[in-house]
Symmetry: C2
Subunit: 490 residues, 2 copies
């Protein structure tokens, strides 16, 4: 008789099953026997069928029509359930099935094309994926901008127009900073020895603890591509180890602690409701990036890390803590987004954002994509792409239909810049704590101002509430210019 | 339009979701963060709701009424689906819900009572559980024997009457063997040193490989209570390590390899059908027990293991391979079923079987259970139970409503005796291979004769087909008497 209670009880199990699906994904990427791949695909397929049926269950429409929320959190939950239900209802079943079928195959075709450095092998598939995503975008947009309709899946409330305005202001300053840094006389040294896996992992655990990661509700494992997985009480992280590149392991760990710590920080009373997870990809990325960069790659924290690594590995071949800070933040030319430093990362994102907007708008043909990529790369990075695996084939996203996802990475960096400025104004002694290997004062502020709210507020709203000002690119750019001009003596 | 195909497609996803539930259970017992217990209960609850709805979906009745099987395997699948559907249909929803609610709490109450050695604290709960299980048994029996109706969940086709006849023939010979062995002048030595965890696990892996365990479709982890989990392509085992008791780790591993190897051995074309799992608890236990005992505790295999353990740990404090074989098979007085040796194990089972039959039949009151347990224990084992945690409170089974489960352990031993006799008559050189640490000739025979069939034949039928004779207790008793009289010089 109580539509609200019935709907929330139904949603409770949907959220729980969605966590089960996430746990299966974790299992697959960390501990699953290699021979179980095909069986796991069947298991995930069965679970996703159940989830799809629940998310489009017509009873949701009835409940929503009659439900009365008891409070603001309840009203927000109804709003989020309604958004999801209406989005799913707009995609015809035929289109959803075609997309599921195609994207289950297209990732493998992309991987083969990338391994063979053969764009032509991938383009027919990308053409099909794009056609279906454009159709979906039209259906979702309901007369609005199709790209915004896709973006809305990852960053509700954001618009391509608004992001483009931010990015267009960022790009010239980042290109200029990149050129200045790479042309500087003073260049940091690279590390040049071997760092055994077990010791890297031991220090990675110490770093995670330094940021307040709760091991009672999480764990650290190895994965080919680091990720975080799960929520509130079971929020796990992964990292990878390359024995010549310890920062890969350590900063992947700190990055994932940012994501996982966000989930651990959400008010537990929101568990199994639509408010029980991080509110958007951009806000999630703001937490991982502020942990990784503004805090983890700061001079006070790297000063502490320098001591820990010297104790563990002996002489690192760098002169002192200041030289180590420069090494941690070393900027080098490179083609690959996932390996990019703080200065160049957002340029990678803007390239992809402009290209995918043009693809969705029909202003760029798939057949012209590689040429457009390479021209833009030369313009922004000053070097020519030599192989498509360095260029247009490097990312998995488009192969599985993730259009509208890339800009949330850069938006996360913008938000991290704003949060860092506000936090340092509000919390005294953050650097003093970081110098002792303790980032928990920062975690406490983020938890109180942002993380605990989960999905209660809209993405831009929760960041603005936390900062006390409307987010913009200014704080990030000011931070980057000051930091890297200092390191490079410019 | 094709009822058979529709039903099998529906069943495919039910089987897949059931494997997902099993994987969640594995996660919980091996890697899950401790703080995630409550969240996991919600996740498992949501998944079990989905599974219950699928297993009782009224469309199954319609499909079964119209389905035509294309072959014998299809006919068997329909038969198994029909059995499960009809059983579920016989349990009123109210009773199913009450049982689920009660047994979710009763295990904790039992654990507290056992920890406090306080029977009185457990009896009210056991009385409730028993009342609901008796009601379920009446509903399932449909006029037949209620205990048989419960037994049918674990060992389809078996009857209490038939099992009692077997057990009544076994009991005097086992009691006599126990007394003779414990009274013998020659008594094997116990191991008396510390065996480091990592080395135990390394040898456990070597043992698993020796039995043909496929690591590409499985893995070994630690758990408080060793178990195996999963099927065909993802069939995992666990063990435990006590540093003073290496046989605990090694023989738990070999036991679980028996279960897991059975699942790995099933014809992969049966995956995601009702034929895709081991056919019964008794047949499953026959595989774990023949690996653990008739093969793993044989003189040839322990001779090989003696060499491996001496290499790994140094002097074991036993004179030679023969003395080591005696130590592995050492019989000592003890109260606990899970720690019992081959001679005494089945006496533990018979005690529980007779008591739980009397409980279900209403011939024994819960209030008289402890006294009945202690009297029977004294009669069969010659020693008095001093504390209920050594006696009636030692096993979890009854607290969660598992009545009819215990006898399958002893039936598994009986089947293992038969299979061992038939295998050794059919396959030359098994002992020669075991002496080289290679049990795969035995695995190959078991796989060909029994494991690959999965659920295709009824439990007793597949054992009889493999053996070429009607299974009985004779081979097991002959084997035990010959082995232990040899070891003890009787």
């Amino acid at each position: 008789m109580n539509a609200y209670a019935d709907l929330m009880a139904f949603q409770h199990d949907t959220e729980a099953l969605s966590l089960v699906a996430e746990r299966l994904g974790w299992d697959q990427e960390t501990v699953m026997p290699r021979g179980a791949t095909a069986q796991r695909a069947e298991e995930i397929g069965a679970l996703e069928s159940v989830l799809h049926a629940r998310r489009t269950d017509p009873r949701i429409g009835d409940w929503l029509a009659r439900a009365e929320a008891p409070d603001a959190a309840g009203a927000r939950a109804l709003d989020l359930i309604g958004r999801s239900y209406n989005r799913n209802a707009r995609i015809p079943a035929r289109l959803a099935a075609e997309l599921a079928r195609l994207t289950s195959l297209s990732q493998g075709i992309w991987a083969e094309a990338r391994a063979a450095d053969d764009v032509a092998r991938f383009l027919p598939t990308l053409t099909e994926v794009l056609a279906l995503k454009r159709e979906a975008a039209q259906a979702l947009a309901d007369g609005g901008d199709p790209y915004d309709a896709l973006l809305d899946d990852y960053e509700p409330g954001a618009s391509a127009h608004g992001l483009a305005a931010i990015f267009d202001r960022m790009r010239p300053r980042l290109v200029a900073l990149r050129e200045a840094v790479l042309g500087a006389e003073r260049q940091p040294a690279a590390l040049n020895s071997v760092f055994p896996e077990n010791t890297q992992l031991r220090i990675a655990r110490i770093c995670a603890t330094a940021f307040g990661y709760d091991w009672n509700r999480g764990r650290l494992d190895l994965a080919v591509h680091p990720f975080s997985s799960g929520s509130v009480s079971d929020s796990r992280i992964t990292t990878r180890v390359v024995e010549t590149e310890p920062f890969n392991c350590l900063y992947s760990t700190i990055h994932e602690v940012g994501h996982s710590g966000y989930e651990q920080g959400i008010d537990p009373s929101y568990a199994f409701t639509p408010l029980g997870r991080g509110v958007s990809m951009g806000v999630h990325e703001s937490q991982s990036r502020i942990y990784e960069n503004q805090l983890g790659r700061s001079a006070p924290f790297t000063g502490w890390l320098y001591q820990r690594m010297t104790e563990a590995f002996g002489d690192l071949g760098v002169a002192d803590a200041a030289a180590f800070h420069a090494t941690v933040n070393r900027v080098t030319p490179g083609y690959i987004r996932t390996e990019a430093d703080e200065v160049q990362y957002n340029l990678h994102i803007m390239l992809r954002f402009d290209l995918e907007r043009a693809l969705i708008a029909g202003k760029l043909e798939v057949s012209d994509l590689e040429e457009a990529w390479n021209a833009r790369f030369l313009a922004d990075f000053g070097v020519a792409v030599e192989r498509p695996s360095q260029g247009v084939l490097q990312d998995v996203h488009w192969s599985v239909g993730l259009f509208g996802y890339f800009p949330t990475y850069a938006l996360g960096n913008v938000y991290a810049g704003c949060l860092n400025q506000a936090m340092r104004a509000a919390v005294p002694g953050i650097d003093e704590s970081l110098a002792k290997g303790d980032a928990t004062p920062a975690t406490h502020w983020l938890r109180d101002k942002l993380q605990r709210h989960g999905g209660l507020y809209k993405p831009a709203e929760v960041v603005e509430k936390a900062c006390g000002f409307v987010p913009s690119e200014g704080p990030l750019l000011d931070y980057l210019e000051a930091k890297f001009k200092g390191i490079y003596g410019l």
